[in-house]
């Protein structure tokens, strides 16, 4: 990807939580870049650091969490050097975010319209109340809320879960951000609504040309909407690549494990799902070697001693595993 095609570039990002028990390295040196109009899925189990990574982009990390290393560059600007006021201007304007639970993410005591208009007015104080309202109604119509004129004056409790997530999306997109971070936006919804919301996001992504970082643990959702995927495990990206590469040619044992543990439509119904044995590592005391080694079926001696480097399989497909460097030394030596 050429330098000026990149919307956001994350390099060796490290985020730690300083707890009384010690430093928890929630995100431990991840790098990726995202182009304009591109949708990247971030997949991983709970606690793998996928949300923390997203929060550090938008500056929402809460104490005791802190970015301790690396850089985040957005359209050539260093986000980590922003003052709090610059960060506030940036949030919701250039990058916005939608969250997992639409039932609790809207303020219950203000109308939907009030909250939508606020997203506009806190970045552009010159906009008139009528214009803001008009824009809010447009956005509600855009996300498929019928009778928006009337519904804009309703409170969140008068909306259903799916409607609230639609309203959240409208609010996130009202300032036409370049990047939308979606933190498990469909997890709390039931399946039919999930499909509708995904359809809507896909449609809006194409219409508004917004890049999306889509955080989820649902591989089905990833296949539906993403161009590229990053698979995270214990604070590190273990494999990255185009959606098709990840699904049809997974390289990392963890990615393979994730895919094997997922039911498939084309199976005859008698295949057993294969779980990944064991539990995630304790991030307070990470192992010296590969983070996945304790659960890996193909674990070798070196995996316990040293962190694996990335092997590059071309077209942005990379995977961090020692196995890639063992089978065929001559070819894999090209890995970084």
């Amino acid at each position: 990807m050429a330098e000026n095609d990149r919307l956001i570039e994350v390099k060796d990002l490290q985020v730690s939580f300083f707890t009384p028990a010690g430093e928890v390295k929630a995100v431990d040196g991840i790098s990726y870049s995202l182009g304009y109009n591109e949708v990247m899925g971030v997949v991983g189990e709970s606690g793998s650091g996928k949300s923390v990574e997203a929060y550090s982009i938008i500056g929402l990390l809460q104490n005791p969490g802190r970015v301790v290393g690396g850089s985040i560059t957005f359209e050539g600007e260093d986000l980590l050097a922003y003052t709090p006021e610059q960060m506030r201007q940036f949030r919701g304007n250039k990058v916005s975010m939608i969250f997992q639970n639409p039932m609790t993410c809207l303020n219950p005591v203000y109308t939907i319209g009030n909250q939508l208009m606020e997203a506009l007015t806190c970045h552009d104080s010159s906009i008139s109340a009528q214009d803001a309202r008009k824009r809010a109604i447009e956005m509600l119509e855009l996300v498929g809320i019928n009778n928006a004129e009337k519904r804009i004056d309703q409170y969140p409790h008068e909306f259903s879960g799916g409607m609230r997530q639609r309203a959240m999306i409208a609010m996130a997109l009202i300032c036409k951000p370049k990047l939308l971070i979606a933190d498990e936006p469909t997890t709390a919804l039931d399946v039919t609504i999930q499909a509708q919301i995904l359809e809507l996001m896909k449609k809006l992504q194409q219409e508004e040309q917004t890049s999306i970082i889509f955080i989820t643990h649902n591989l089905g959702v990833v296949a539906e909407i993403c161009d590229r995927v990053s698979v995270m495990y214990a604070g590190k990206i273990v494999e990255q690549g185009k959606v098709n590469d990840i699904f049809y040619n997974p390289l990392h044992p963890y990615t393979k494990g994730l895919l094997a543990s997922m039911p498939r439509l084309d199976s005859d119904g008698h295949e057993r799902l294969i779980p990944i044995e064991g539990t995630p590592i304790d991030l307070l005391n990470p192992p010296k070697g590969c983070n996945f080694a304790p659960r890996c079926k193909d674990c070798r001696k070196i995996c316990l001693r040293q962190k694996p480097p990335f092997a590059d399989y071309g077209d942005g497909h990379t995977s961090a595993c020692w196995l890639h460097f063992m089978e065929d030394d001559g070819e894999e030596a090209s890995g970084k």
Partner: protein, 313 residues
Amino acid sequence: MFSYILKRILAAVATLLIIMAVTFFLMNAIPGNPFLSEKASPHAIELAFKKYGLDKPLIVQFKNYVVNYLRGDLGVSLKMQEGTSVKDIIFNQGKFTRSIKLGLSALALAILVGIPLGCIAAYHRGSWLDGFLRVMTTVGVAVPTFVLATLLLATFAVKLPLLPVKSGELTDFRSYIMPVISLSFYYTCYLAKLTRTSMLDAINQDYIRTARAKGVKTSKLVLKHALRNSLIPVITYLGPVMAGIITGSFVVESTFQIPGLGKYFVQSVMNRDYTIIMATTVILSALVIFMNLVVDIAYKIVDPRITLTSKEG
């Protein structure tokens, strides 16, 4: 809304009737009567009983009370200001207004100081300021009113003669200061603690994170998004606060020698002045019921999820 208020007023009348009944039978259960004293002869007492209708069966006496109250007739004092109309005693001698002025000032102080203090403590959670406020409010809810009132008197009226010892009829601003502080201190501290807790709760809610993600300024985050949500439990508590402040002024009125309703109420019980006991109880109860209605309406204004009509008054 209108039908709701109407319903509540009807319910209030029923409540007052029950309060009258309970007060009436309780006060008659106290041994003795208004006319007992060393000097009174049995014959004189009998005459007085006849004069005020106290010789009739209790149930008839009660019926007379209710009928007279419905007509707006509160009767005459039996002992404390014998023969004077109770209405005059309460309303025309300044007692009611003094107590109300004192109570409302204390209430305003508790709200205007307690809620902001709670917000400040929550916003600076964990800092020395928060620690200081926590100690102060904990002490505040533990110190009884009479101790505080006496301390204030000893300090600001005796040691440093800045304020009047006797507040009397509350004619100037200076005479308000100590009684109002004494009366409101407990509630100020309690409101501050309550606001801090509910504010901290509100600050950690998902919608605050949403607002931050939108780019809302910190000041607006606290004052718009968190405060209104954190006020819901605070308003719930304001009902009892109003009742407590308005009826609980006895200690303060005694300490600062203010001839108000609270003090008069207690004296009327001591003297078994039946008509005054009844009148003060009914008036104070009506006030508390009214304040609760105000609180319920405020509740609706702050939290749109609450529907008043579905609730029975």
